[in-house]
Amino acid sequence: MIGFIVRRFSVSVAVVLGIALVSFIVIQLPPGDYADGYKSFLIEQGGATESEAEAQAELFRQRYGLDKPLPTQFLVWIRDMVTKGSFGFSFAYKRDVGELIAERLPRTLLLAVLAHLTSTAVGIIAGIFVAPRQYSVADNVAAFIAFILSALPRFWIALAIMFFLVFTLEQEHVTAFHSPQYVVVPWAFGSLAETRESWAKLVDLMQHIWPVVVIAGLGGVARNMRVMRGNMLDELNAQYVTTARSKGLTEGQVMRRHAVPNALHPIIMYQGTVLPYMLQGELQASIVMGLPTIGTLLLTSLRNEDIYIAASCLLIYGVLLVAGNLIADISLAVLDPRVRFS
């Protein structure tokens, strides 16, 4: 088991390095760089002449190493990441990219993981519920809802929910994690008053983020439910389920001990690929809802070719994907002896 984990882990490290290279190349693909944008900014807004602006842009390139050949830029980026833990410098924010991401990553992950857990739990339970009732009214209603949910574009749901929040519920602040009065409240649980305040802040947080969690998770609920239903139907027809019934187990025991663990197999297997799917859902929902997460950061940095932010965001997504796959592989090995021993 340990050997299995070490093996999978070393493969993951190699994959992450590959992703770093690819994300860096992808970011360089669009013509021009941030200095070009800076140059046109100087000409249009600062009234500089073409040559003055070009000189400024050249100076900018030298300062941030944009004049060096691409392989050198890449190696410097990787070197700083490994030795200094620095992800580069954001031209637009004039700040260290690592700091920017560190600020937003926990919130992003919180949203994505919440969405993921909700969609997985709800989807699996719904799938287990409808499978033995194949083609019943409940099954058909669930299928209908699932198809609607997976077909509706996320940004549209986000707009609809925002409309509902603002005009029907008259919630005042939608595009933030907290209402203004809670922003400065610290997370503290020392005294009773502090705890009460923190609790209120948590409730406030939930009121602001549930739309993103729901939107990012909805498609997942539908997908998990359909997948789980299909798996359950396969497993319920399997011979070993008949064996279990012929032992004299109750239908509940047959489901819990035999059918469900086998049916979970494919769901666990795609957990790794579903994390980026959730991040993507979070990305879309957050951009529409205006929550400052990595999604919005990536979008703006791509627009103004803030290469280190963009490349680092892609890298982070890549790392999360690889980590997701690694976790899925390990969980599968824990669940299924055939994976463990091969």
Partner: protein, 348 residues
Amino acid sequence: MTSDHQAPARLNAEANRDAEDTILELKGLKTYFFLERGIVKAVDGVDVAVGRRKTLGVVGESGCGKSVTFRSVMRLIQSPPGRIVEGEILLHRKDGDTVDIVQLDPRSRQLRDIRGAEIAMIFQEPMTSLNPLHPVGRQISESVLLHQSMSRQGAQERAEEMLNRVHIADPGRRIGEYPHQLSGGMRQRVMIALALSCNPSILIADEPTTALDVTVQAQILDLMRELQDDFDSAIVLITHNLGVVSQMADHVAVMYLGRVVEYAPVYEIFHNPKHPYTIGLLNSVPVLGRKEENRLVPITGMVPSPMEDIRGCAFAERCPEAMEICWEQSPEFKEHEPGHSAACWLHD
């Protein structure tokens, strides 16, 4: 259809003669599948009895209803679409009680107490009949814990003992292994261990050796015979292999299209077959050293669809000896010689 109702009465006479020695009786059992394209009469009036500590061989072509008949006994027919529409399944329990399994709710406590403890079942596909996620020992002890008041530790020991009984080497290590680590023959041994772990009085074996190599088949059959003596179980052996039947069975029921067409002691079936279908089956079995002029004789024609409404005898259109009456009226299943019943006009 009127003939069906007289048939159980005849069997009854035989059964009453040695009621104590009968453990399971099926009377006029009908299991139908209600599909969109019609009703499949998979089991259409089966009368058969299983003697205590005896082996009943059930033979017939694929689709003749032999598996469905005994899955009905375990109430393992998926419903919908399947349903037992008529008949009785009488189980004479160890304590002298008689239960009609047809009357039990498939989800009821009484039925679950019968499954595994009184009637156990092993299946054709040893590769898929064990759960791949649990060690084989746990799959056996699960059944033991269900039916016997025993500690987890005791059940585990029982599992180990059972693996030993089915001649699996190093059972202490094997109980911790998973099905994919065992060969097909070993898995079938595990299934037998699982089935016998609670001392059932009836073991239903649904083509237990069909998926195995010939040498392994013989070992598994030997094992079943040996354990039958040790555990005092009756065996229902469902197969299409007449060789297996001749080695194992005390009585044989030949099924055709959802009905038993001939029932007799094994010697009678092989040496004095009465139904043309039985004769056809015997003729289509290769015998080593048979002369050139006695080549295999296949039964002509195809099995009619179980959805068809057949007038007269279901076998008439394939029967070399079909007479006028065979097309008109279905023959009664009745005793023609003591202990030897058949449904055929030839013997009336």
